[in-house]
């Protein structure tokens, strides 16, 4: 049963990683607009970084 000493912390660690990922996604506003997120996948921009993170010359020309 000594294996439990490793397995249980491993299970907890994985669980905590999941929780941390959830809290991070919550904090970064990924639950703010669920409908919009579903539609945004249809954009066919090759660059999927948000506009504000792109270098200036990458912005769509006016």
């Amino acid at each position: 049963m000594n294996i439990l000493v490793f397995l249980i912390p491993a299970a907890l660690l994985l669980g905590l990683l999941g929780l941390a990922a959830f809290l991070w996604s919550l904090k970064s506003g990924q639950y703010d607009d669920l409908e919009g997120a579903a539609e945004r996948i249809l954009f066919d921009d090759d660059d999927d970084r948000p506009y504000q993170d792109r270098p200036d010359d990458d912005r769509p020309a006016s």
Partner: protein, 739 residues
Amino acid sequence: MSHAAEAMLDPTRPDPGLFVRDAPGGRAQLDLVVQDMHCAGCLRKVERGLYELPGVEYARANLSTKRVAVRWDPRKLKAGAIVARLAEVGFTAVPFDSRLASALDETEMKSLLRAMGVAGFAAANVMLVSVSVWSGLVTDMDETTRAFFHWVSALIALPAVAYAGQPFFRSALKALRAGTMNMDVPIALAVILATSMSLVQTIVNARHVYFDASVTLLFFLLIGRYLDMQARARACSAAQNLLGLRATAATVIGPDGAQRSVAVESIEPGMRLAIAAGARIPADGEILTGTSDIDTSLVTGESLPEAVKPGSAVYAGTLNVGAPLTMRVTKRDDDTLLAEIVRLMESAEQGRARYVRIADRAARFYSPAVHIMAFATMILWFWLGAHWETALTHAIAVLIITCPCALGLAVPVVQVVATGRLIRQGVFVKAADGLERLAQADTIVFDKTGTLTLGRPQLVNGDDIAPVDLALAVALARLSRHPLARALAEAGNGIAAMDLTDVNEVPGMGMEAQLGTAAIRLGNADFAGAHASTAQHAGPELWLRRGAGDPVCFRFADTLRPDARATIDALKRKGFAIELLSGDREPAVRAAAHALGVAEWRAAARPAEKIARLEELARAGRKVLMIGDGLNDAPALRAAHVSISPADAADVSQTAADFIFQGARLAPVIETIDVALKSRRLVFENFGLALAYNAVAVPLAVAGFVTPLVAAIAMSSSSITVIGNAMRLSRRKAAEARP
């Protein structure tokens, strides 16, 4: 016409500069409502369009709330340019006053979600350990391993309960301080007792611990609470958008004659204001220059516009339908109509507060019953000669098994499904307990103007007018923005344009033009040289005169909503008593009541009289549903047991009402009542299910057969049954949609 289109035509839009907030780094931030965003393409157009402006650093459209947040460098760009840019790419943007958004704030939602995440993590991991222990109990797990597993559970569960249980602990504490009971009291008690007993059991190395029960309980209940809050937040943000779209600014005339746009809140007595034709009057005051007609329907419920001239008093919220005016703001003293309405609303508040939600009413009986039962179990076992520790364990098992997990979900889940179904129909549920109160209603009191009617004039004698006259009048009317002219133009949709020359609009009188050699005049009776109409007509009129010919009369009336009669009939068939309570004059109200087949009606009712009638009905034991839109209805909407407003109602009324419906049809009212009744039935069914489950589980707990495994199975299955039952509300709808 959509709200967005209306907003574009409205010359009185506030200056977006008034709503700009300061963002960190010397940036400016603005929130806009863009009601006509519907798809990925719209999102992209909006965001791209904004990023193309120099100086814009952040633009994010939110499709759920239909709002756009923009942050930019104020040195490079003015706020007006942003709205103009969106108009260029085809969207009407209206600045959104972020102060409106305070009702249900984001942080509360997020902290609830965080608590849910923590509880979910703990529930999954404790359950992982617990399942091993349960299978170990019937196989070969040795005592050391079991103790180790119990300590692991304790390590996860204790911090999780301390963190995720806070919403319930706080609410329970608040209820106890106020000397009342709510569902959170038994929840908090069961969770705390189960956790602390399990901790003791772990320390003494006993066989059973209930950590899994306490965390899964919290997880399920937090899901219920989050769903409830999200549905309400969604309805609230939609309602706030509606108010934001109608926000108006006032045009102040300075001492030097310069005009500038200011927010309505910053108007002070003594200021001079310019009121454009078609604009709402932003404050109480008196007319300085100009003559015009004022549409007071939203304030008094009267459908005939009232003529005003210099010196006349005008009230905030009324509509200037004639010519431009200037007015002076007077002090809002106590004898204005608005002050009376505000006073009445404050006193009407009390009736509503007396209502206790179904879940809390259930808690009043449920909590003491459960606590007495647990106590009795302990006494019973002690009396039977058990060790006090065993007796206490069984008592706590009773508390855990009766912990109202299913009861806690019974109401919110139904509420969420019902709210979602209503939002798809264009009905927003604003009050948390609105559906419960609506299900009790047995009498419906309608306002007339703007509620049963559309609140805008329509041509009624189009068939009696020679086509050539109609065509001429329509051609002329298309060139004016006066509401009657617009109604006439609408009636003549599709009629070819005419070659009119020398078109001239005389403010407050009408339009004149030349057709060939003949002079054409369209306007009021004096302007067209006609004597007042001989026939008694309860609505506004326009007269057309061609050269020296006889003037032709165009009659307008505020017409009923297209399905008003059908809706009233359907409501009567459902057994509701219907009444009409209007501030309009008697002939108009009598005509409407007759057309709708409503026997009980009252005309020229002032706000106080409306309340008096509602109180009279309440004393007779009736539960009244009030449906109204005007400022004069606001106190009545507040005083009634439950209330509904159309989306184009006065702001104050929308705030006072429990439900808001959109569109020109009245049918959403029936749908809302149906959903409310079905919801109530489902809630009671859910209570029945939860009680049935208790009837089976409680004897087991009293007898001491409830192990943590039994508790976990019973709790999950009862919760899932309750959720499944609530879901039937949306499934039935899907079946109805496909006839």
